[in-house]
Assembly symmetry: C2
Homo-oligomer: 357 residues x 2
DNA sequence: GACAATCTTTTTAACGTTAATATCCAGGAG
DNA sequence: CTCCTGGATATTAACGTTAAAAAGATTGTC
């Protein structure tokens, strides 16, 4: 057997041709052995796979992308983290999304855009022009989302973290059930005996905020509790603080405050502190998102944890299905958040002497 | 003028050939007009650029990557966020790194690896085999870092967020001066009149922790203050809490505690709370990293903010220089953190009645 | 006016892969 | 023995780009 292979590899890269030579077949057969196993004889396939293994061959994605117009890249646009946002959610999300993507044979590529939907769409377009992107992951989709319309018009597969909120069944999405979460939080404080339960949520424009508010309404209605104590404010500590003061100044004041975010809940805690009231013992508080701060404050903040790793996995799964041309309608996955109970919602003794984390 | 161009584009993609037809030149001339402007006549170049503009041509990165073995991709590996880590640093870092990369004509691709240096190196190798990666960005490099050795042995350009700590001048790095930061924090509390200033830092293995500790030592030596109050612990709230108790139980107790992280500082705040002492008024506290929690607690936590956007820009800059084959030695950039003064280090009146954010 | 030197543009070939097509070969039917 | 069928493998061409080489145009020199 003559060794016709001159030099192992030009650039440290093993190519199909080299594997083919090694296995004594054509390059196409190697390609088939890997991508269409049933097109090569079992015996040959075995020989080819051995050669692949031996030489450590990995298909070149650039060549494949050029030939197939499919790059195994999934694009995602990060948004700048606002300084007041306490949530680590994005960081975690990106990590698990990437992990799931790699698991499924993709890679995550970040895209960057000027702020605003127009800038984002332009960034997507530019990226698509420059290189083939297999799919996009959107976050925080809203009613009548221009990005959805754009991607759809281009025929690019995509899945969204967040519902479209317009009942569009043709959109693949994964979301966390904010309504169920807030309901669970409300149920929890009601179970502690609270009857005057207020809700501090976001402005009416926010579909997400509206959804969370519904959960509180559900729970209150179930128990025939009054729902007069509600506030719709921006998501800031100061707004939470002020709203809390209002609800505690009411003629029949709140004894529990269910909030749409940890940031708001921390504002409530500050308001209690200013009044010499104890979170938990005097007024129950719940937040939303399980930000790192929630575990660090004293007493710990009861909050809802989003199953962010499952969100990531499901999004990639949904994209994978779309790419496979699965004829079934796109996936819709609604996940339940988990109630994390800490001292802020429990009557018990002053918890601050015990570390909550 | 006959319109020989049949159909605008097969896949919505405009190619060199189409631009060439439009401008009445060869494909190579278009390529040259874009990449080697001085190789085409000014007049021709103008015509070509007009055609490029008109058709909205963007070079196909896959084809370019295949041909040039250079993908304009920069890879970065995220690490999973540990639950107790309060810092948003990575999130912000990734954002600005990507922004800077896009600005410079690159794209960021994430890579995923099993935990541990071996897994990370394997992930880098796999990625390099599969697709051409122009460069890598490392984070948290340490003494004798295997990843540095590996990337160097493969001849791949890379830059590191963090020094190598072994005086290796051939490594391109960007870092934040922890020593200067801690020194500034110590100077700050000394300026408030404190003389018994303790330091709660990380275990001796941590080069980063050691560096920060040095800053405290520097400032104390300058003022001939004692340096007996020091702790080297793991980075957790509980460890900070216990260390604080020890330093407050000392025969001559600390009146100020400079910490190597916000997490530790929050532990200190809890310890003070347990003793009925007020942060700022009774004992000054400083943290490190300006985590979101620092602004949310009451009183606000004095801390050091890393100029993370500058870090991102400089890293891309350094990589760009490496890629350009700049013969000068690799860049080393040491940036100063910014002291963010909040209530926890100021004697003033009880600040909790005033929102600190 | 011939020849070189220089500038400009085109042609050729290749990067590594894979769909489409062509070729080969064995076994079965007529 | 020929023809067909179908499975296995090989060949061709193309994805879009660019380096290298070739060809063409222009200018200057003696």
């Amino acid at each position: 057997m003559q060794h016709t292979n001159r030099g192992p590899a030009p650039h440290g890269h093993v190519t199909l041709v080299q594997v083919a030579q090694r296995a004594g077949v054509s390059a196409q057969s190697v390609s088939n052995a890997l991508n269409n196993p049933d097109r090569v004889a079992p015996e040959t396939r075995k020989r080819i796979l051995a050669a692949v293994e031996e030489l450590g061959y990995e298909p070149n994605l650039s060549a494949r992308a050029l030939r197939n117009r499919s790059s195994s890249l999934i694009a995602f646009k990060m948004r700048p983290s606002r300084p007041d946002k306490a949530s680590l959610l994005m960081d975690d999300f990106l990590y698990v999304l990437n992990a799931a993507a790699v698991e499924a044979g993709y890679h995550l590529i970040l895209c960057h855009a000027e702020d605003g939907p127009a800038g984002e769409i332009k960034a997507y377009r530019d990226l698509l022009k420059k290189t083939s992107i297999d799919a996009f992951v959107l976050a925080e989709t809203h009613h009548n989302d221009d990005r959805v319309a754009a991607l759809r018009s281009w025929g690019v597969p995509f899945a969204s973290f967040g519902r479209s909120w317009d009942g569009d069944d043709s959109l693949a999405w994964v979301d966390v059930d904010g309504r169920a979460g807030t309901r669970a939080a409300t149920d929890h404080v009601a179970a502690q005996g609270h009857r005057r339960i207020g809700h501090i949520g976001w402005l009416a424009e926010s579909e997400l905020g509206q959804d969370r508010r519904e959960g509180w309404l559900d729970a209150c209605r179930d128990r025939e509790l009054e729902t007069d104590l509600q506030a719709a404010v921006v998501d800031s500590l100061e707004a939470g603080r002020q709203a809390a003061h209002r609800m505690l100044d009411a003629s029949r004041p709140a004894t529990a405050l269910v909030c749409a975010s940890d940031t708001l809940a921390l504002g409530v805690m500050r308001a209690l502190h200013e009044r010499g009231l104890r979170p938990g013992a005097d007024v129950a508080i719940t937040g939303y998102d399980d930000s790192p701060t929630a575990a660090l404050v004293s007493p710990g903040l009861t909050t809802l944890r989003q199953p962010i790793d499952e969100v990531g996995r499901q999004l990639i799964q949904a994209i994978d299905n779309l790419m496979a041309g699965d004829p079934r309608e796109p996936q819709h996955v609604l996940l339940e958040p988990e109630l994390v109970v800490r001292g802020s919602s429990l009557p018990g003794p002053r918890t601050s002497a015990v570390p909550t984390s």
